[in-house]
Amino acid sequence: MTDDVERVLADTFAQDWGRLVATLIRVTGDWDLAEECTQDAFAAALRTWRRDGIPDVPRAWLTTTARNKAVDRIRRERIGAQKVRSLAHEPEPDLDALDSGISDDRLRLLFTCCHPALSLSSRVELALRTLCGLTTAEIARLFGVPEPTMAKRLVRTKHKIAVAGIPYQVPPAARLPERTPAVLAVLYLMFTEGYAATAGPHLVRVDLCHEAIDLARVLAGLVPDDPEAAGLLALMLLQHARASARTDVDGALVPLDEQDRDAWDRAAIDAGLAELRRAVRRERVGPYQLQALVAACHATAPTPSDTDWDRIVSLYDELVAVLPSAAVQVNRAVAIGMASGPQAGLDALAGTPDHPVRPAVRADLLRRLGRTDEAASAYREALTRTANQAERAYLQGRLRA
């Protein structure tokens, strides 16, 4: 029984934290109160559910409980009589309405977190806290700053939203094209953090990936004419389809060419390919669609040797032209190394800027060229560049071989 409660609570937390916070911000207009009451509701659930059993619809129970706690808090503090009245008249949560497209409060929260009047890092930090329910300590670790510093940054961001009058809304249709790219960027950062956690015992934080995919799906529904929104959704689906094959039983990273392709999630791949087809039909290609096309090349190759590396190289050539980031340039060198041999890859890598995975890529190319000593020292350098234990386990394995 106890285990059941904890399991259901963990699932509900992963799925519904963001929705609960988003709804409470809408009805109270107070970000801190919304977070605190959501937290209190989860704490209350642990006690009550153990005693009375798990409710039929856990999210509805949590929403009602969190809202009641907010009403109590506002009453106790004897502030905002207006707020109490409007809260009291708030109808019982209509789960169907909450789940459908535009009425999803998470979109309001997402667009508000991604407002261009906030710095890029503030947007990501606040989205991870409010939408994904990461703790301040976890976000501090991600950004490599002390926890009190991150706590101050989150307070500052919420203060600016409240005081500067950043509206809590999905922008009007006319503004969506200019506002969507910032949201896509934050969703992709959220997903990549889930996909390859920068620190900690697990390579993949599935809850973060799911949240990002879920939000991207809702967003793509809101802006059906934006091929990059569909492209991002496709990219995430195709990458996430490989999640369970990316680590071995001991939790070490398994590289793409050694993964068990039968373990890839076919349904997710099909869904990703369908999104991608919808996107490219608009004939306005962008960075997310190009990366999704690369992911599609991998996802549709029955065996590693069937991979169309020439096509991948040409996709990376296009990608470098629109998005010349270090990661893209390093990945292009990897593709060249597969299409035209390790020496060509090494030559391409020579001109790329530094990136955390660059030493590992260099090590692999040197190993394939038989330059064992140089490869070993590159693997050792690569080990200094990641705190993720799955990646470290893989690199240590290579070093021993």
Binding site: H115, A117, V163, G165, I166, P171, R175
Partner: protein
């Protein structure tokens, strides 16, 4: 909500740039705001060389010839607008002719 718009630009070039801006673009900006009833105050300033900065230290009034912050970019005008939210204030700021070559800082006004 009320916002203060601090309109600033490179003083040396601002005069010419404003003259070069589409004829009447400044008047259009003001007229539009007045018609919408959002403009609470608006003032244009003489150049910063005419400024006097005042400080009280140990009971003594100290004067400095010039603006409190030296620099090429100087405040040339102020406006207070009353509008729905930051998005509307940003749209108003972006429509000011000086936004094209200088910048407009948008600050929420504190209400006591």
């Amino acid at each position: 909500m009320q916002y203060l718009l601090l309109i600033s630009a490179d003083e040396e070039r601002a005069v010419t740039r404003l003259r070069e801006a589409a004829a009447g673009s400044f008047d259009t900006w003001i007229t539009d705001l007045e018609q919408r009833g959002v403009l609470r105050a608006h003032v244009g300033l003489h150049d910063s060389a005419t400024a006097t900065t005042v400080r009280l230290r140990d009971g003594e009034v100290l004067l400095t010839d010039g603006p409190f912050a030296e620099g090429r970019e100087q405040v040339g005008g102020l406006a207070v607008v009353d509008c729905a939210d930051l998005d509307e204030a940003v749209a108003i700021a972006a429509a000011h002719p000086a936004a094209a070559f200088g910048q407009v800082e948008v600050r929420p006004v504190r209400v006591s």
